[in-house]
């Protein structure tokens, strides 16, 4: 072999080894399944493709867990992983699916609203691929996803994303961001189909409430809050005051800007009769000035840089040595969602919703998140779903 080809062969071998060692975990991540045990309240599991058939067979076709009570009443939709790199929403949704019992009305839960983003990683941002939540029966592993849909499922991006139907110009990347593609269209890009399917579900099934669970940086002004348009503002304000008085945590109300399009808290209200609420819990992991992006930071939210910035009053939430642990964030989502349902039911007795079995803020802070997950190995096979 000539010197040239000896060098080339060696380089090809190194590149191949690197590609296999580095590519295999990425492939595995995309195809890793998270078992979710359908709890006693789950009455059926449907797909978003029931509302937009062209989603069928794609990675974007999300599961909708339906928990229908014996007594008729109102309907509430809870969505998580609209942004799949904000895990408190997903953990809350899984807790609801595995534990909630609906006495009156219907609870619908979409744990992986942007199912493709849940199987996507975030190049350049050095995230871990998974995070483990400790439980009594071992660790439950979840994929750490991305804010945006995988280009393997939606490609290419436009040079600029023009929002439907308002023609507002948005960043090209937002064509893959399911909190910019509302209200969507049945024949638009894949993520517009996803949001359109959810809109159709809300309109056809006459849903009363939609709750979209997120996480936001501690340096972002719109964090630790409920974002609500005018039509939901009264309930949101009552919820904010109640959780502060009864459960001792802050969650202020932010108005949904009327001229910022594509967001769930704006378009759901404008294009259906459903009352939208978007919940933001602080997630220090997503802040730019943090130390290494580790699973520990993701779960305990402790970071010395943020602590220092907090002392300089540059954060928008109180922040101390205790960070913002995942129990607090999931607890806030659970309590705020339950309180939205309670306040709505008080005002609308005809379409009231009554749910039990979902832990509240204090329970989660005391017991941890893993306490509420059920062992899929011990569950009936037919009640285990893979997300």
């Amino acid at each position: 072999m000539s010197r040239e080809w000896t060098i080339k062969s060696a380089l090809i071998a190194i590149a191949a080894v690197l590609m296999i060692l580095g590519g295999a975990p990425l492939y595995k991540h995309r195809h890793y399944e998270v078992p979710v045990v359908a709890g006693p309240g789950v009455t059926s599991v449907i797909k978003l493709s029931e509302f937009v058939p062209s989603l069928k067979g794609s990675m974007a076709d999300a599961d909708v867990f339906v928990l229908e009570g014996k007594e008729p009443g109102g309907k509430v939709l809870v969505m998580a992983n609209t942004h799949a790199n904000e895990p408190a929403g997903l953990l809350t949704a899984v807790i609801m699916i595995e534990n909630a019992v609906v006495e009156k009305g219907t609870l619908m839960v979409i744990p992986e609203f942007n199912a493709s983003a849940g199987r996507n990683t975030r190049p350049g941002d050095g995230y871990p691929l998974y995070y483990d939540i400790p439980t009594e029966w071992g660790a439950k592993r979840f994929r750490m996803g991305n804010r945006d849909t995988s280009p393997l499922d939606q490609w290419p991006d436009p040079d600029v994303y023009i929002h439907y139907p308002d023609k507002q110009l948005l960043s090209f990347i937002d064509v893959r961001n399911t909190n910019r593609t509302w209200p969507g269209r049945p024949n638009g890009p894949l993520m517009e189909k996803v949001t359109f399917a959810a809109m159709e579900m809300m309109r056809k099934d006459r849903l009363n409430i939609a709750i979209d669970m997120h996480g936001a940086e501690t340096m972002f002004p719109v964090t630790n809050c409920i974002v609500a348009p005018q039509k939901s503002a009264k309930i949101a304000t009552l919820v904010s005051m109640t959780v502060k008085a009864m459960e001792g945590f802050d969650n202020h109300v932010e108005p949904s800007p009327p001229n910022f399009h594509g967001l769930s808290h704006r378009e759901i209200g404008d294009f259906s009769d459903t009352l939208p609420f978007l919940l933001e819990a602080p997630i220090p992991f997503l802040d730019q000035p943090t130390g290494p992006k580790t699973v520990k930071l993701l779960l305990d939210g402790k970071d010395p840089f943020l602590l220092s910035l907090s002392k300089k009053k540059k954060l928008f939430v109180p922040y101390d040595e205790n960070g913002w642990p995942i129990e607090k964030r999931v607890g806030q989502h659970c309590s705020v969602a339950l309180e939205i349902i309670r306040q709505y039911s008080k005002k609308n007795p005809d379409t009231a919703i009554r749910i039990s079995g979902i832990p509240r803020y204090a329970d989660l802070v005391k017991n941890g998140v893993g306490r509420y997950f059920h062992d899929p190995a011990k569950a009936e096979k037919k009640s285990v779903y893979y997300e």
């Binding site: 040239e4 060098i7 080339k8 380089l11 090809i12 590149a15 690197l18 590609m19 590519g23 990425l26 492939y27 995309r30 990683t121 190049p123 280009p151 393997l152 490609w155 290419p156």
Partner: protein
């Protein structure tokens, strides 16, 4: 998979083919050989639908 996405895989394959050809034709510069391989990595992983 839509027609446009298929065209993107074809564009990737064309560029990958050109770069691979250039790599084979590169006789002297080890630097360039390494750079060709680096640029080929994401194109190949995209075509294989790994990332």
């Amino acid at each position: 998979m839509g027609v446009i996405m298929i065209l993107y895989y074809l564009i990737c394959a064309y560029i990958l083919g050109l770069l691979a050809w250039d790599f084979v034709r590169e006789k002297k510069s080890v630097n360039d050989m390494i750079l060709y391989l680096l640029v080929l990595i994401p194109l190949l992983l995209r075509i294989l639908r790994i990332k």
